[in-house]
């Protein structure tokens, strides 16, 4: 029972991270609104995004659903789809009501619509081009990072360029971590999970390395753009970059050791944490 609850909580982590990113996004663009608007956005926007993020998680479950399984599971898939639709709709309606009652820009509704369209298209059409494991990683990363865009967009549709850079940094850092996470061995031998198609190890490391490089670039560029507190941002950017550069090095070295993945994963974990702190302090 305890394990079940733990695993459920662990599976909800992307939602928590996405909500944090949402709150961060609201904070990054707070200069465009007053305390009244910001408060209502914090309250209603958070509820809406949590629901949308959970709907995103369910998308992943739907996508990973095995069609060749028993009847019992087919029923579960329908229920999953229904749950996903309901949650997304409620989140969408909350956003709509927020817009109506608090006189937000009506175009803000495009944000949840876009998220919904992107995720739906991904889930139903991406399997033709990508393997399910890659789609899962992209979706998980997007649940996290799209929170930033959602939050920023609630305050203003004229989202500053550095918000998009931060969004990219979060996406690619998370993708980088997701790419190698499955290779981390806890107590058993290095092996991919049984039912999943995985990249070869060196290909995964190469991909993770590319994502890390993109992340680093996306974090450095804002210093030269008009973020509010570049010095404060720089203080935390330094440990962030240290973690990321070290992770890059390990990935590039590509040693086929189980330790490498664990170390890289830990570095990326801390890198993402510092990244969020740096983003917070930048504004």
């Amino acid at each position: 029972m305890k394990l079940k609850i733990r695993s459920k909580l662990r599976s909800a982590k992307p939602v928590v991270k996405g909500t944090v990113a949402f709150l961060l996004g609201l904070f990054l663009t707070r200069q465009f609104v007053g305390i009244g608007r910001l408060t209502s956005n914090y309250v209603f926007g958070t509820i809406a995004y949590i629901l949308i993020a959970i709907a995103g998680l369910i998308c992943i479950k739907i996508m990973q659903f095995d069609e060749g399984s028993s009847n019992k599971r087919k029923l579960n898939k329908k229920q999953l789809i229904l749950a996903e639709l309901c949650l997304f709709s409620v989140g969408f309606i909350i956003t709509l009501l927020d817009i109506i009652f608090f006189f937000l820009d009506v175009l803000i509704i495009l944000i949840p619509i876009s998220i919904g369209i992107i995720w739906t298209l991904f889930v139903y059409y991406a399997p033709k081009k990508l393997n399910s494991e890659d789609i899962k990683k992209i979706l998980l990363s997007s649940i996290f990072s799209l929170g930033l865009i959602y939050g920023a967009g609630l305050n203003t549709l004229i989202i500053p360029i550095y918000v998009f850079l931060f969004f990219s940094a979060i996406t690619f850092s998370q993708l980088s971590r997701e790419t190698i996470k499955n290779f981390i061995v806890k107590k058993r031998e290095l092996a991919p999970k049984s039912s999943e198609v995985e990249r070869p190890l060196d290909a995964a490391l190469r991909l993770s390395f590319k994502f890390q490089i993109i992340t680093i670039v996306c974090l450095i560029v804002p210093i030269f753009i008009d973020i509010t507190y570049p010095i404060l941002y720089l203080y935390i950017l330094i440990p962030t970059l240290l973690c990321l550069v070290w992770a890059c090095y390990l990935s590039y070295k590509g040693m086929n050791e189980k330790k490498i993945f664990k170390r890289t994963n830990v570095l990326l974990k801390f890198g993402i944490l510092f990244e969020l702190l740096a983003i917070l302090l930048s504004s």
Binding site: G34, I35, R37, L38, T39, Y229
Partner: protein
């Protein structure tokens, strides 16, 4: 509730411990009495009554007040005892000396009371040898300006009222003991006199040219009047005498045009909850200036006891009386009046008027405006505090705040000035700069407010607006959370609205921009420890009205033949019998006043208000408001931009110094020309002439 108190106590305890660790105070008191040789002869040739005599009514009020002061045991009333050759309460006098010995804040208020006693006692023996020696001892060992090093103090020298208190004391005591050496400073009396004289003149000139930093303060005008009367009565410098008299005239004019039904019913730069909030009919709230205002121009209730320096000084003054025109205006203005008035420079206007921001120059003008941490002044403020080893509590607040600002600026990689600009919601919010006051009065009501003043910024103690039917039935709104007096003032200070007023109606919007993360976190913590203040509210004492009707978002009150209606956009609830509260820091209020003369009856007023169309659209900042006033027609205003009434833009400022039926004075000009019924009073600070033409 207990937890709240515990949290508040813990928070204050931490602040105090931090403060003590940095500023542990030590006090040393010399036991020997201060040796002195008091001057007892002053050959003054200045005739303050060159052009007029005091009115008989004024003399009557003086005599009345003198009568009640002579039987009062209060400290300040002892001056009246001496004046009237009535024995003093020596115990009261002696126990008030301790503040001077301890160098504690507000010792200057006592100083001016003691100075007056000494001067009035010249060639008298009312104040006997021992008590007199002790008084002089305390004064001789005291400290008169922050530039005096030596023993540490906890005195605030630099608000507008404290400045004149200290300068006056220093000047007059220097005059009284010219050859004696004051213990703390090591300066002789003559040196103190020479040091203080230009500071006194500078303060007087600033008032004459720019008005009062603590505009219309019902608390601190009292602290200005006392020393000013002392200067008129005892200063030997004719320029100081005449200018002090002129500044007193300006204050009397202030009372004459702003008092309404025995209440100083106007916007104020500094006020306290205690002067406005009454929980019920048995509660007490009053203007500290009431005694002085009554004496000067006969407004307000006749006092029953004598307690403050200002009124006692006026009552015992042989050299100051307001020119008769001012009392005549007070009587006339109580009926119908519409006035525009401006007090204070904007900090950006310093160079335009020849003021700098240096400690060696005009920094004290800006400190008088509570401009210690404004971007233009913060560097010099820190310099002052560090150079003169000032306890920052006497300048900014606790040491922890000083360090917080300094280190935050450092970590942001910004200068103090640049970081102060980041915190402009507070650093500029505290500034009492450029207040444009609009007042509209009929025999039934008065509406007064600071037009479009520092909207969205965080203020200390401002009372932005007030709608008054009488001295109990009045309405005001506020968004609490001001950086003032233990952070527990709920109806003054706080987040300032965009207040826009026209004749009998006003629209007051509350909202604000978001500050840097650490400032928001600090405000959040302050609110957490010192009481949750995430709301706006209205003071609407139901007990004070004859009838109160609630309809939709309107609360409508009647007192006598005057009516007031208050609209609250956000959902509101009665937190108490006088507080109408709405959660959140964003809200819009509409106030409309009426009378039997305009509507015939309260019922008709209510009907008209119910039918009034109100359309309010929240914007990302503030609101867009369209209101069809039953009396004024279509009114439109938003967070930015003009206010229009019936299609015409309302003048929201900046105003002239005075623009009303009695006086038209361009702001920044040093001549005030007041006219009424063919009488004229000209206060010319350039020529130092106080001309009265009956």
């Amino acid at each position: 509730m207990k937890l709240k108190r515990l949290l508040k106590f813990s928070f204050l305890f931490i602040i105090v411990i931090y403060q003590q660790n940095v500023w542990g105070a030590t006090f040393e008191i010399q036991q020997e009495l201060w040796p002195y040789h008091m001057r007892t002869y002053f050959n003054r040739t200045i005739d303050v009554f060159e052009y007029f005599n005091a009115t008989p009514e004024y003399r009557q009020r003086q005599n009345y007040y003198l009568g009640i002061a002579n039987v009062s045991d209060s400290f300040y009333a002892q001056s009246a005892h001496i004046y009237s050759n009535v024995s003093v309460n020596e115990e009261t006098i002696i126990e008030n000396l301790q503040k001077l010995y301890d160098y504690r804040d507000t010792m200057d208020f006592r100083m001016n009371g003691l100075v007056r006693m000494l001067y009035l006692n010249i060639n008298k023996t009312v104040l006997n040898g021992t008590t007199k020696d002790k008084v002089i001892d305390a004064l001789g060992k005291c400290k008169y300006w922050y530039t005096e090093l030596g023993r540490r103090d906890t005195a605030i020298y630099t608000t507008e009222n404290h400045q004149i208190q200290y300068h006056t004391s220093e000047y007059l005591l220097g005059q009284l003991f010219p050859n004696d050496t004051f213990t703390n400073s090591g300066m002789t009396g003559k040196q103190h006199e020479d040091h203080a004289a230009p500071l006194v003149k500078q303060w007087l000139d600033w008032r004459g040219q720019f008005g009062f930093s603590e505009w219309h303060s019902n608390t601190y005008y009292v602290e200005d009047i006392g020393p000013l009367v002392n200067l008129v009565d005892f200063a030997m410098d004719p320029e100081i005498v005449i200018k002090a008299a002129m500044v007193l005239d300006l204050m009397a004019f202030d009372f004459a045009i702003n008092y309404y039904k025995n209440l100083y019913a106007t916007s104020m730069g500094r006020a306290y909850d205690g002067s406005r909030v009454r929980e019920d009919v048995s509660g007490y709230a009053s203007d500290s200036v009431r005694e002085a205002a009554w004496l000067m121009v006969g407004v307000g209730d006749q006092p029953n006891d004598a307690g403050d320096l200002a009124a006692v000084a006026l009552a015992t003054s042989d050299h100051y009386a307001p020119p008769p025109i001012l009392e005549a205006i007070a009587n006339n203005a109580s009926q119908y009046f519409e006035g525009y008035e401006r007090n204070n420079l904007a900090i950006s206007e310093g160079s335009q008027y020849g003021l700098d921001y240096l400690e060696s120059g005009d920094l004290m003008y800006w400190w008088g405006l509570s401009g210690q941490i404004a971007p233009e002044t913060i560097e010099q403020s820190y310099y002052l505090v560090e150079t003169y080893e000032r306890d920052p509590m006497t300048a900014f607040g606790p040491q922890i705040l000083l360090d917080f600002i300094k280190w935050s600026a450092f970590f942001h990689g910004k200068s103090l000035s640049a970081y102060s600009e980041e915190l402009s919601a507070i650093s500029r919010g505290l500034l009492l700069e450029s207040a444009d006051i609009y007042t509209y009065r009929t025999p039934y009501y008065q509406l007064a407010g600071a037009q479009d003043h520092a909207k969205g910024l965080n203020g200390g103690q401002e009372l932005i607006w007030q709608a008054t039917l009488d001295n109990q039935a009045y309405v005001l709104t506020n968004s609490p959370g001001g950086y003032t007096q233990e952070l527990d003032q709920m109806y003054v200070g706080g987040w300032k609205p965009r207040g826009t007023f026209y004749k009998n109606m006003g629209i007051i919007q509350y909202d604000r921009e978001i500050m840097p993360f650490e400032a928001e976190a600090a405000i959040f913590l302050l609110n957490l420890f010192m009481g949750f203040k995430f709301y706006t509210h209205a003071y609407f004492p139901k007990w004070a009205f004859d009838n109160v009707v609630e309809y939709n978002k309107w609360t409508i009150g009647k007192k006598g033949d005057g009516y007031v209606a208050l609209y609250t956009y956000e959902p509101a609830f009665w937190a108490t019998g006088y507080e109408l509260r709405s959660w959140g820091q964003k809200n819009t209020y509409i106030v409309e006043l009426g009378s039997v003369e305009e509507y015939g009856s309260f019922e008709n007023f209510v009907t008209q208000i119910k039918q009034a169309q109100v359309s309010i659209t929240p914007l990302s900042l503030g609101y867009d408001i369209h209101y069809t006033s039953p009396s004024q027609g279509a009114v439109s205003v938003a967070w930015n931009g003009p206010m229009t009434v019936a299609g015409i833009n309302v003048d929201l400022g900046p105003y002239d110094r005075f623009n009303n039926t009695y006086c038209n004075q361009t702001f920044g000009i040093n001549i005030t020309d007041i006219q009424f019924n063919s009488t004229r009073l000209e206060l010319n600070f350039d020529n130092c002439t106080r001309l009265y033409q009956p």
